[in-house]
Structure formats: C-alpha cells, structure tokens
C-alpha cells in the first residue's frame, strides 16, 4: 500500500493527514455505529426499553448534535486549510530554490521526461536522486492525464498548453511505480512508468552513461512520439533546444493578453 506506507516526504505528510482525519471522524462515526445497534437492540418491539411515542424533540439534545459535528468540522476545516497550503503541489519543497527540474510531457500513451539541467531525456522511465527536492513541470501533448507516483506523493493533471508544477522528493533509493491517473484513451492502461530513486553518486553515474548514448530527441523523433501508441523505454543523450517550450507553446496564442 504505497499510499499508506510511502517513501517520500510529501506522501508521508499526505498519509499522516489521511490517518489524522480518519481518527477525527471516528469521534462521530463510532457513536453512530454504537447508538444504531444499541437502540436497535434496546428498543426492539420485544425488548424492555421504555416507549415514549410522542417524544419528538428536545432542544438540548439537538443542540448537541448540531454542535458536535460543527466542532469536528471546524477542527477538520483548520486542518484542511493548513494542510492544503502546506501540501500545495506548486509550493517549493525547499526555500533555496535548488530543486532539480524534470519536465514531463504526457503523450498518447507514453510519458516523456526531459532533464533541462542535464540536457538528456527519457521515455517511460525517470530517474531522480534521493533526498533532493525535484520539481516536475508537467504538461501534455495529448488528452488530459494525471501524473501520479503514489509512493512519493499526490498527483496533478497534465494538460496541453499548461505547465503544472509538482514538487516531490524520495527518501530512500528504490523503484517506484508511476501511472497516469486520468483516463486518456485506449492506451491508458499502458501509461505507466518506473521512477528510480538513486543515491546522488549513482544518479550522476547514470546521467553520464545516458550522455554517452546515441539517441537524440530531435523534432522528427518527437513528432513520431506524438502518434498514438505504446512505446518501450528509451534514453536520449541529447535534446533539441527549446523543445519543451515549443510543446507547450503550440497551444498558446502569441498575441493574446490572457497569456501570462
């Protein structure tokens, strides 16, 4: 259960939130269960419970069950407000701004990862260093998808013409399952990838080995990727300059004042 037993700081906070909220709700839910079955047993027709057919309102009692849920929701609401701001996927994990950037493109039906700081790219798998905040900049050249690595933290939608940032970080080395969570057509079920978190040294070695490779992500290669279909994993040693910007920009209006 990667959601409840996570491997990343964001996912850990999210799972703690799930547990906290569940415990809070049990304050109301358990009495409901208890009262339901207790009353059902106690006041069954053949039972000995008192019968008061016309007892139909009590201002005091009603006040209690308006007040108790209101208070719990107030607490949950406060928890929601703070946790939503804390877990805002757009918020940098570390204030220094030293995050590693991975640009993600959801394609029909594959995931393309570009590493602008290293000039390399990968298809259908991604590698990141552990203990490092990573900023995924997510877009799509396809119908809406959702980028989700349950072990590291919550998802965000991948949409054409938008860059949706998602900040994650991995605690320990390992292979984590990543998927698209939003249905995007026939090949959707195949739209998953492996995220490998490696120690800084292993990661650097990996980058160097990719750079030694031959594959180049040029415009024609990218065009071929846009054709709907499933693909294997590929590593590209070089990437055509400005590719990501143009992938996003193709959907935007150059002259429109709405563009930010």
């Amino acid at each position: 259960m990667p959601v409840l037993f996570p491997h990343g700081v964001v996912a850990s906070q999210e799972s703690a939130l799930i547990v906290q909220a569940t415990l809070l709700m049990l304050i109301v839910a358990l009495p409901v269960f208890f009262l339901l079955f207790y009353f059902a047993w106690r006041y069954r027709a053949s039972g000995r419970g008192r019968h008061m057919p016309n007892w139909s309102h009590s201002r005091f009692d009603e006040l209690i069950w308006w007040a108790v849920p209101i208070e719990i929701i107030l607490v949950l609401g406060a928890l929601t407000w703070t946790s939503t701001h804390m877990l805002d996927p757009h918020k940098p994990l570390s204030p220094a701004g030293d995050a590693m950037v991975v640009q993600v493109v959801a394609l029909p039906w594959k995931w393309l990862f570009l590493y602008p700081q290293y000039g390399i790219a990968t298809l259908n798998f991604v590698e990141i260093p552990t203990q490092t905040p990573v900023e995924f900049q997510i877009t799509a050249d396809a119908p809406m998808n959702s980028f989700w690595v349950p072990a590291l933290g919550g998802q965000i939608y991948a949409m054409p013409g938008m860059i949706n940032p998602l900040r994650l970080s991995a605690d320990s080395p390992g292979d984590y399952h990543g998927v698209s969570a939003n249905y995007s057509g026939a090949g959707f079920a195949d739209m998953h990838f492996n995220l490998r978190a490696a120690s800084r040294d292993d990661f650097d070695t990996w980058v160097a080995s990719v750079r030694k490779g031959k594959g180049v992500l040029s415009a024609p290669v990218y065009s071929a990727l846009r054709v709907p279909g499933v693909a294997a994993t590929v590593a590209y040693a070089r990437v055509q300059r400005g590719l990501f910007d143009r992938i996003v920009g193709q959907f935007l209006d150059a002259g429109s004042p709405m563009r930010h």
Partner: protein
C-alpha cells in the same frame, strides 16, 4: 449533402464478439417484444391504460419499469467490467479490448445515474408526492407524461448505440480534449450528448412540475412546516434539478458545437479551454449527487418513525438540515478536480465547504437514531434497509470527507478508492433508500405487501454483496490502483476476484428480489393488506376519495418518439431529420391549447 448523414452500412458492423452479441440481443429483444405486443393483443390495452395515461401513479410505475430494465443493462455492464478486471491481470489481457472496456464503463455510469437512479427517484416522487400533499394529481399532467417519454427516448438512444455505431468511450463525464473530435472521431460522444440532453430536458420539466405541485397544490391547511419530510426533501431535490440541469444543458451543447460545428470551447487549440468543461460539468455534477440522495433521506424520515412507532424526532432540524444541504451542494464542486492545479486558497475553500455538508447530514442521522430511541422498533424490511443504509453510509461519508481534504485527495483522486466511495454513497444511500421506500409504499398501490422472508434474504445478500464488492476497492485504491484500467497489475488480482464475487452476491440479491415480486403477486391473497398495513400516521396512508379518471393522450409519447428520432438525426448528422422532428414536436406541443381555448 448525404441523405443519411454520416450513417452508412459500416456503422452496423461491430468489431468484437461481445459487442456483436449485445447487438443481436438488442435487436432480437426489441423485435420480439414488439411482435409479442402485437400478437398477444395486449398492445391496445397497454396503449389505452398505460402508455397514454396521464395518471401520476401509472407514470410513476412506468418510470420504475424503465429503471428496472435499464438496471439490468447497467448490471450486465458491471458484470463485464468486474469479470474483465478479475481475469485481466498482466500478462493476460482478459476478453475485452481496451476500447470496448472504455465504452462499457462509460455506459455503465451514464445508465446507472441517468436511466436508473433518476427514474427511480422520479418514479417514487410521482407515486407518492400527490398523495402526500393530498392533491388530485400533479400540476401539469401532460408535461409529466412528456418527461417520462423524453427519459425513455434518452434511454433508447443509449441502447441504439449498441446496434448502430458505438457509445462514448470517454467516461461518464467525457472530459475534453479526449471527447473532442480530434481524439473521439466516432459517434459515441454524440450519442452520449443527445441521450443526456433529452433526458436532461425531461428532468428539468419534471422539476418545474413537482415544484409547482408542491408549492401551489397542497391540501387546504397544509402549511410548509406541516409538509411530510419526503415532500420537503423532494422540494430540495427538485430545486437542485431546476438550477443545476441548465448547466448540464449548456456544457453538453457547447461540446456538441465543438464537435459538429468546429467551434473552440473546450478544444486545446485556438483558445478553447478544456478546464472550463470540467468546471461547468461539475457545477452540475455535484448538485446531481444530492438530487439523487435527498429524496431518499426523505424516505427514511417516513420509514424510521413508522417502524419505531414514534414521531419523527426533530422535524424542524430535519427541515433546516434539508435546506442547508440543498444550498451547500452548490458551493462544493471543485472537490472533483482539486488535482487540476488550482491554488491552495481555492482548493481549501471548496474542501471546507464540502466538509460542511457533513454537518446537516450528521444531524439527520442523529435525528433518525433518536427517533428509534424509546421507540418500539419492528424490523420489517424497510427498517432493515435503514439499518443497512446507516451502516454503509457512515463509511461512505467518512471516505467522502477524506476525499474533500485536498492534501488527502491528491493521493486518493481517480484511484479505485474514489470508485468505492461513490458506489458506497449511491448504493448505500440511493439504492437502499429506494428499496426501503419501495417496500414501504408498495402496499399502498398494490393492496398487498411484499413477501417479508424473501425481502430479508435480499437485504442480507445486498449488504454482504456490497461490502464484498466495494471494500476491496478501498484497499486497492490505497495500493495505487487507478480507475478505468482494462488490464491490471497481478498483485491486485486477488482483491479484484473478491470484488467480482461481491458482484455475484449482488446479482443473487437482485434475483431474489425478482423472485420476491413474483412470489408476492402469486400470494397476494395471503399478503393482502388493509389501507394502512404499517399503522402510519403520514397523510399518504389516509384513504383518498376516488379520483376521476384523467383524460389520456398519446401526444407525449409521440413527442418522445420524435425526440428519439431527432437525437438520432443529430448523432448521425442527418440535420433534416433533426429539424423535422423538432418542427413536428413543436406543432404537436402547440396544437392542444387551440382545442380548448
């Protein structure tokens, strides 16, 4: 300009064996049914007594029959989905193709919401509301019949897609750009649009009808604060229909303009904004959930006092809670797309608003519990359904609150945890509530009660089946399984097999319910019930003066048939057919006032 639009002989060709089977089944069942009607001589009786009837009770029954038939279709779809997922653990890919699987899950959702759940509540409302407020009929009997037949037309369009062309494969709410022409070039999404557009208009007309009925036709002396709870919750639900369905109409129309007229509302090109679709459709979609569940809350407020032999506890609180839910349900729609990337303020505000709905809902539950307190509870099946409802609904409510916390939702959204949650609410709330109401009010209309023993069997099977089918999905969601997968990871297979067994138990429950109906009808002498078998004090149980027969008209059914043809014309771009159907319907609609000025 082609006479048949985009329709050609190829449109009838289905690609897979399962799809072909469905096609043949629909054709055989439809022709068989029609032939049987003609040759058994029942057609005339059916036409006179039922199809043309404007009597709210008969219209109610016909809604329930429609829901029953479509329910079988929806369950068949569910069976295909569950068996596919249980068998398609990689490297096996099951027996359904990805496209076909997508069509089935789309159809399952659409059918269950629009053509099962909605007709179920409209059926109950039709049967009970006029009796509860003790009026002769609804305010506009003709429009009532029209609503029914438009709903039927929508349902037929969905089924027509089994025979000609295919249904939408973009989910029950077809998010663009996937649902745009570029990615869904077939007619599937168009079938979806027109089936819902027609059924949506029907719902809107019904809402106007019942609101007018409840507001202006209550019996002398029944003030608002004297209305039975079912009438109150229906009032809330119909207000939601009135104000939410226009948004569905808008969003579907805009999607159709994109697809058919090359406009750019939700395309990703030329400035269209797919997120606006998501925003607008959920502004309808969230109230829709409460449209479905509110009337059933009303049912429980009738059932619990009756079987506890006690007055409903906290009537005023109940009314306040109902109206609070009605208003709040319009303030929460963003929780369906927290993960689309809005800022923390937007997400937090809508998350907190969502949780706030738990307050009036919780109050309702406590009021029901304290109606049981110091009562004399008799556990007839309607009361059992109530027990089942509270037990399951509380679980669903808790998972719902979890999903409404954006931080948690990032991890739960679009997983099968979400699927488990909404089935939890719809089955535990709407379906169980309907069964409670159906069993409770059945003797009022049939003159005899339903068989208790089989009813209890059905209840236990349903509850067990529900738990076995959906609890595993909560766990699978936490394991990272997303919804709508036609092939699955092998590690998920054991729990998916359990879920499939759960569905089998539910199917057994449905079989028992059908048997219950048959057995009860056969034993109706023994099950004969007086005019008030449960000893209820609610107004609908008091004997009514005999109603003078309302006059019949086939016009509504004709307009329904024309709506089907018009929708079919729209789907296949046979514009002449659509225009003709609209024009003839307009004439049919306009003419009657000329007759009795």
């Amino acid at each position: 300009m082609n006479f048949f639009g985009t329709l050609s002989i190829d449109s009838f060709v289905q690609t897979s064996a399962v799809a072909m089977g469905a096609q043949v089944f629909v054709i055989v069942a439809a022709t068989g049914g029609v032939l049987w009607l003609i040759f058994s001589g029942t057609l005339d009786w059916l036409w006179r007594e039922w199809l043309t009837s404007l009597d709210h009770k008969r219209i109610g029954v016909m809604y329930l029959i429609l829901a029953g038939i479509m329910g079988v279709r929806g369950l068949a779809d569910a069976t295909l989905l569950r068996t596919q997922q249980a068998t398609a653990a990689l490297p096996s890919s099951g027996y359904l193709s990805a496209e076909h699987f997508a069509e089935i899950f789309s159809a399952h959702g659409v059918i269950m919401i629009f053509f099962v759940a909605m007709p179920l509540i409209f059926g109950l409302i039709n049967l009970v509301i006029p009796l509860q407020i003790r009026s002769r009929d609804v305010a506009f009997p003709f429009l009532n019949s029209l609503s029914l037949w438009l709903t039927v037309a929508g349902a037929l369009l969905v089924n027509a897609s089994l025979v000609v062309g295919q249904f939408s494969a973009a989910g029950w709410l077809p998010y663009p750009p996937l649902s745009e022409l570029a990615f869904s070039p077939g007619v599937g999404v168009d079938y979806y649009i027109w089936a819902l557009q027609i059924a949506g208009v029907a719902s809107l007309i019904s809402a106007i009808n019942f609101l007018t009925t409840i507001i202006t036709m209550r019996t002398h002396g029944m003030r608002l604060m004297h209305m039975p709870m079912f009438t109150w919750t229906t009032l809330g639900s119909m207000l939601l229909v009135l104000f939410a369905f226009p948004l569905l109409t808008v969003v579907l129309a805009l999607l159709f303009f994109d697809r058919a007229l090359g406009m750019h509302f939700f395309t990703s090109t030329l400035g269209g904004n797919p997120m606006m679709f998501v925003n607008l459709i959920w502004a309808w979609g969230h109230p829709e959930v409460y449209i479905l569940v509110l009337p059933l809350f009303g049912v429980f407020s009738e059932v619990v006092p009756t079987f506890s032999h006690k007055k409903l506890f906290g009537y005023t609180s109940m009314v306040v809670a109902t109206m609070a839910i009605t208003a709040l349900s319009f303030l929460v729609w963003v929780h369906h797309f927290f993960t689309m990337g809005a800022g923390a303020n937007v997400n937090a505000v809508f998350g907190i608003a969502t949780m706030a709905i738990a307050i009036p809902t919780g109050v309702k539950i406590f009021n029901w519990l304290f109606t049981m307190f110091r009562g004399r509870i008799v556990f007839k099946t309607p009361m059992l359904w109530f027990m089942g409802f509270v037990s399951t609904f509380v679980i669903g409510g808790m998972t719902g609150v979890l999903l409404s916390i954006p931080g948690a939702d990032y991890q739960l959204h679009n997983s099968v945890f979400l699927v488990a949650h909404f089935h939890n609410m719809i089955i535990g709330g709407v379906v169980f509530g309907f069964f409670a109401g159906f069993t409770y009010w059945f003797p009022k209309f049939a003159g005899f009660t339903l068989d208790e023993r089989l009813g209890k069997w059905a209840f236990w099977l349903w509850v067990t089946g529900f738990l076995v089918a959906f609890m595993p999905l909560y766990a699978l969601g936490l394991m990272g399984m997303t919804r709508r997968l036609y092939v699955v990871d092998p590690s998920w297979q054991p729990l998916l097999i359990v879920a499939a067994v759960g569905l089998a138990i539910i199917l057994a429950a449905v079989a028992v319910q059908i048997a219950q109906l048959v057995v009860s009808v056969r034993n109706r002498e023994r099950l004969h019930a007086g005019h008030n078998p449960w000893g209820s004090h609610a107004p609908e149980w008091a004997p009514l003066p005999p109603v003078d027969r309302t006059h019949n008209t086939g016009v509504a059914m004709c307009i329904g048939a024309l709506a089907f043809l018009g929708g079919f014309g729209m789907v296949w771009h046979m514009w002449w057919l659509a225009i003709l159907a609209l024009a003839v319907s307009a004439v049919l609609f306009i003419l009657p006032p000329f007759k009795h000025v």
